[in-house]
Amino acid sequence: MSNIDAYLKALCEDTGLEIETDAKALKKTIAKNYSRSEAVVPAAVIYPVTVEQVEAALKAANEYEVPVTVRSSAGNASLTGTSLPWKEGSVVINLSKMNKIMHIDELNCMAIVEAGVTFEQLNKELKKHGLYMEHPLQAKAEKSVIAALLDRDPVLTAKHLWDVPDPLCAMKMVFGNGRLFGSGSAAGPGTLEEMLEAGCAMNQSQGPVWLDLGRVMTGAQGTLAICCWASVKVKKIGTCKKMAYVQSDDINVLGAYASQVIRRRLGEEAVLLNRKGMSRIFGLDEKNTDEMPKWTYITSVRGYNYFPEEYMENQYADMEDLAAAAGLTVSAELTGLDNEKAFAVLAGTSKKNDFWKLREGNDIVDLFCLNTLDVVDKFSVLAEKVVEKCGLDPKELIVYVQPSQMARNCHIEFLIEAGDKAAETEKLLGTVLLDNNAFFSRPYGVMEEAIYNKYKAQRHFMPAIKAFFDEKGILNPGKLASGYAGGAL
C-alpha cells in the first residue's frame, strides 16, 4: 500500500472524515489556477469539520509523510496558486465545510469564525447585529475571511489597523507537526465556551507571554500551520454616513493628505486609486475617468451612538480644512458615481463570480508590495514605463494604494490585463520594483526567488521557523521554497 493509501485508510478508520478520491472531481480542484505557478492534481481532498479532525489529519500526515495543502475558501479559484498542491501525491485539506460563524459579540465588536466562513457569509450575518467587517477592497465574496487575513491582505480602514495581524486576533491552529495550539486569547486557560461564558471577547492576538505564533504564521502561504478558527474585530455600522472624495494629479500631495487625515482618525474606509482603478472598482465610465484628475482619495465618514451627525460633520469639516491647507478640495459627490453605490463598494464584498481582479481571465499581471505613501509616485511612474516597454497601454494599468497601519505604510498594487505578455511584464515589473526597493512582504510566483535573494536575513531564519512548526516539511511543500532553503546572512 502506498503512503497515501495508508494515510487515507488510517484517517477513514479513525475519524470518519469525508474524503474525495474521484479522479474527475480531483481534476476539477485545480481547474481555476489563475497564477503562473504550477499545480498538480491532488491524490485526495479531505473535508474536516472539527478541529480534532484537522489535528488527526496532520498527525497522520506526519506519520505517513504525506504532503498537505490547505484550502479554506469555497470554490476552486486560486489567484496566487498557494492553495493548490505542487507536489505529486499531495492531499488537500479543504476547510470550506468548517464554515460556522461561532460567535458574534455586539458589546465587544468581535466575531469568531471557522476557517471556511466567507466574507459574504460573515457580512450578511453581522448586518443583523448592526455590525460589519472591514475587509480587503471588494473582497471576493466566496473568499475565506481567515485565509485572506492570514495572508495579510490589507483591509480598508488604516486607522483600525494598529498592527499585524489586525483585524485578526486569537487563533486556534494546528501546527504542521500536528500539535494543537491557541494563539492569544485562544490559548485559554479554559475552553472557548468557558471563556465566552466568563465574558471574554477573545480579542487578544498576542501571547501567551513570550509567544506570538499567530502573527508568525501570517504571510506563510499555508506552510506552517492550519488555522481552524479565529476571532476577528468587527465594527458598528453606525447611524449615518457620508462619502468624501479628494482628487489630484499629484499623488505626492494626495498621499501626504491621506496620511494627515488618517493619523487624525478622520474617515473610515479609505483608498487611493488611479483613473483605471476608479473605473474598474467603482464602475465609472471611462468618459468620466478620462476627465478627472489622475488620482482619487475616497473615504467614508460615519456617525455612531454619541452625537452622530455632529461627529460625522466634524470629521468632514476637519478633512476640508486639511484639504484647503494642502491646496485640495473635498467633494461630497463625484460625477458619474452614485454615492450609495460608492458606499456599497467600499463597505461590501464583490458579487459572486465577479471579482475585480479576475474579470480579464487568466492573463493578468497582479503585483503588490508594501512600502510608504511617499514612494507611490516613483513606483507608478516606473510601472507605467515598464508596461509601455512591454507593448501595453499604461492607461490600462490599475494602481491601487491601500494605506495601512495608520498610514505608516501602504499596500501598492499594480494590475493589468496583459494577454500573452503577462509573464514577461510581470517579471520585468517585479524586477524593476525590487531594484527600486519595493518590499514584497508577500512573495508569490516568479518573483519569489529574487525576493529571497535580496532579503537574506529573512531567508536565513526561515528554516528555524519551519523547524518550529513543521519539521518534516509536510505543509505546502514547494511554496516559499527559496525562503525555506535558508542561506547565509
Binding site: 458589546l107 494598529w162 487624525r264 510608504t372 495608520m406 518550529f468 525562503g483
Partner: protein, 516 residues
C-alpha cells in the same frame, strides 16, 4: 573573575579597555532592587563583568565571543526595571548607554528609529516638535522606548490612543544570539516601515506579548510607531519638574479630567463608551491607595487609621484620569461633550475640564515628565503586579474586582500593606473593547510579611484566573516557576513552545532567561 581571562581580553579588544570592567564595586552598582520576586538571586546577582559596546558591530563581536566561550549575557538599555539584572554570577551585563542616537525621525510616515539608550523623554521632545508623539510607558521619560517595544511588556496610560508597546515596533536591527547582525523586515533595505516578511513574520518569533526580557539576543535599533499629536510642541518647567509647583503653559486644546466611579459596573459602562467615542488621548484608572502611598505616604498612613476618613477615601477608589486633545475646535467640543455625557450616564463625578487650577498644571507637567509610578521608587518602596492578560474591558474589570477581593482579605488578615484593596491600573487599548489590567500591590521590601504577601497575592490571583477563565496568563507570569507549573498544561503548553523557540535561536541559553 568568573569569565575566562582570554574571553575578557577578546572583548576588551572589541570595545576598548575603558568599556569593560570586572571591578566588583562597579559590578555591584548593577545589582538590582527587588521587583516581582522575593528571592533576590533572581535579579540580585553581581554580574561577572560590565561591557559597554558603542556600536552594533561591537555588540555583534561581543556576542560572538560569548558564543565561543559559552558566556551568559544580558542586555541593559536604561536599566530601570529589575529584569535587566544579571541572572547568574557568570553573566556579563551589556550596558548599552553608548548607543544613544535617535537615528531617524520620519515625520511623513510617523516613525522614529532609535538606539537602546535613547530615552523616552528625548524622543517625545523631538516628536512633539513635529506634531507627533511616542507611546511611553509609565516607567517614566528616563526609560528606553527601545527596551519597551522590543523586549519588555508595554502597558501605558496612552494605550487608548497609542496601543500596547508590544505592538508598537515596526522594523528593527538585532544582534541574534549567535552574534549575527540582522535587519528584520524592511530594515534590510534601511527603511523601517514594517516588521513582517517577506513571507512569515520572523519578528513575531522574537517579540511576543510580554517580550523576552533580554533572553533573545540584543536589539540595537528599533522603529517606534509615532502618533499624531496636537498638544504642546515645547515645554518649560522652571522648577525642574516638581509636580506640585509646576508652572507650565497649558495649551488651549487640552482638557484634563478625573472621572470618579463608585461602582465597578458604572466604570465598565463608561470605559466601553470612551472606547466607542475614541475621545481620550490618555486615560487610565489609578487607585487612591497607590496614589496616596506614592505621593503622600505619611498622610496616607495616618488617614487609614481613622475609620471615617478611611471609608471616605474608599469612595474615590475608582478614579480614571483622562486627557483629551482637540485636533480642531470642533473636535475638542465634541470630545468634551462626550466625556461629560459619558460621566453623566455612568453616574460619575467629573472633575476638571478647562478650570484653571494648579492641579491642571501638575497634570501637564506630569505629561511632560511622564511621572507616574516612578514615584513609588522613592526610598525603599516597590510594587508587584498580578492577574491576567488584556481581554474584553468587561473581563479586565472582573479581574480587577477579584484581585481587590483577594487583597481586601489579605489586608484584613494583616498580611500586606494597606492600600484600601483596589490596586487596579486599568485602561482601554486601541480605542476598542480591549482592556488592560494590572492588579498592583504595594510592597515594602524591608518587611518579611510584605515580601511573602507578593507571592501569595500572585498565586491566589492566578487561581482565580485559571478557574474563572478571565483571559490569558498575562501578569500571572510574574508568579515565576509556580505560574509555569499551573498554566503550561492548561494553556497550550506555552512554556514548552517558548523553550523550543529559544532552543532554536539560542541553544546554549546564553542570552539568559529571567523569569524562570
Amino acid at each position: 573573575m568568573l569569565i575566562p581571562v582570554e574571553a575578557y581580553k577578546e572583548i576588551e579588544k572589541i570595545v576598548g579597555s575603558e568599556n569593560i570592567t570586572a571591578d566588583e564595586q562597579i559590578c555591584d552598582t548593577y545589582s538590582q532592587f527587588l521587583f516581582h520576586r522575593p528571592d533576590p538571586q533572581v535579579w540580585w546577582q553581581r554580574p561577572a563583568a560590565i561591557v559597554m559596546p558603542g556600536s552594533t558591530e561591537e555588540v555583534a563581536g561581543f556576542v560572538k565571543v560569548c558564543n565561543k566561550y559559552k558566556i551568559k549575557y544580558k542586555a541593559h538599555s536604561t536599566g530601570y526595571g529589575a529584569e535587566n539584572g544579571a541572572t547568574a554570577p557568570d553573566c556579563v551585563l551589556v550596558d548599552l548607554r553608548r548607543m544613544n542616537h535617535i537615528v531617524q525621525l520620519d515625520e511623513k510616515n510617523m516613525i522614529a528609529v532609535v538606539e537602546p539608550y535613547v530615552t523616552g523623554g528625548e524622543v517625545e521632545y523631538m516628536a512633539w516638535q513635529h506634531g507627533l508623539t511616542a507611546c511611553l510607558t509609565t516607567a517614566g521619560p528616563q526609560s528606553s522606548p527601545l527596551a519597551s517595544v522590543t523586549s519588555h511588556q508595554g502597558g501605558n496610560c496612552a494605550g487608548c490612543s497609542m496601543g500596547y508597546n508590544g505592538r508598537n515596533m515596526l522594523a528593527c536591527e538585532w544582534v541574534s544570539p549567535d552574534g549575527e547582525i540582522v535587519k528584520v523586515g524592511s530594515a534590510e533595505m534601511d527603511e523601517y516601515f514594517t516588521a513582517d516578511g517577506p513571507g512569515p513574520s520572523f519578528k513575531a518569533m522574537i517579540r511576543g506579548y510580554f517580550g523576552f526580557d533580554g533572553a533573545m539576543g540584543i536589539f540595537t535599533k528599533a522603529a517606534l510607531k509615532l502618533y499624531h499629536w496636537a498638544g504642546m510642541t515645547d515645554y518649560k518647567i522652571p522648577n525642574d519638574g516638581n509636580l506640585y509647583e509646576a508652572d507650565v503653559e497649558i495649551p488651549d486644546n487640552i482638557r484634563f479630567y478625573t472621572m470618579i466611579h463608585n461602582e465597578w459596573e458604572d466604570l465598565e459602562k463608561a470605559y466601553y463608551a470612551l472606547a466607542e467615542t475614541e475621545v481620550c488621548t490618555y486615560m487610565n484608572k489609578f487607585s487612591i491607595g497607590i496614589t496616596g502611598q506614592a505621593y503622600m505616604p505619611e498622610f496616607f498612613e495616618q488617614a487609614l487609621k481613622l475609620p471615617h476618613l478611611r471609608e471616605a477615601l474608599k469612595m474615590a477608589r475608582h478614579k480614571t484620569v483622562i486627557t483629551i486633545v482637540g485636533n480642531s475646535d470642533r473636535d475638542l467640543d465634541y470630545k468634551v461633550k462626550c466625556v461629560e455625557q459619558i460621566a453623566k450616564e455612568s453616574n460619575a463625578i467629573l472633575i476638571g475640564g478647562k478650570v484653571d487650577n494648579p492641579y491642571r498644571k501638575a497634570q501637564v507637567a506630569s505629561l511632560c515628565k511622564y511621572d507616574g509610578y516612578a514615584s513609588l521608587f522613592n526610598g525603599p518602596g516597590s510594587f508587584h503586579v498580578a492577574m491576567g492578560a488584556d481581554e474584553a474591558i468587561h473581563v479586565n474589570v472582573k479581574q480587577a474586582q477579584e484581585a481587590q477581593r483577594i487583597k481586601e482579605g489579605m489586608i484584613a488578615a494583616g498580611q500586606c500593606e494597606d492600600d484600601l484593596g483596589c490596586g487596579a491600573w486599568l485602561g482601554i487599548y486601541e480605542q476598542s473593547s480591549r482592556g488592560h489590567n494590572e492588579a498592583v500591590m504595594l510592597i515594602d521590601p524591608r518587611k518579611e510579611y510584605s515580601l511573602s504577601a507578593m507571592m501569595t497575592y500572585s498565586i491566589e490571583c492566578s487561581k482565580v484566573l485559571a478557574t474563572q477563565h478571565l483571559g490569558g496568563i498575562g501578569f500571572a507570569a510574574f508568579g515565576g516557576r509556580e505560574t509555569v507549573e499551573t498554566f503550561d498544561p492548561i494553556t497550550s503548553n506555552y512554556y514548552e513552545h517558548t523553550l523550543k523557540v529559544k532552543g532554536l535561536l539560542d541553544p546554549d541559553n546564553l542570552a539568559n532567561m529571567t523569569f524562570v
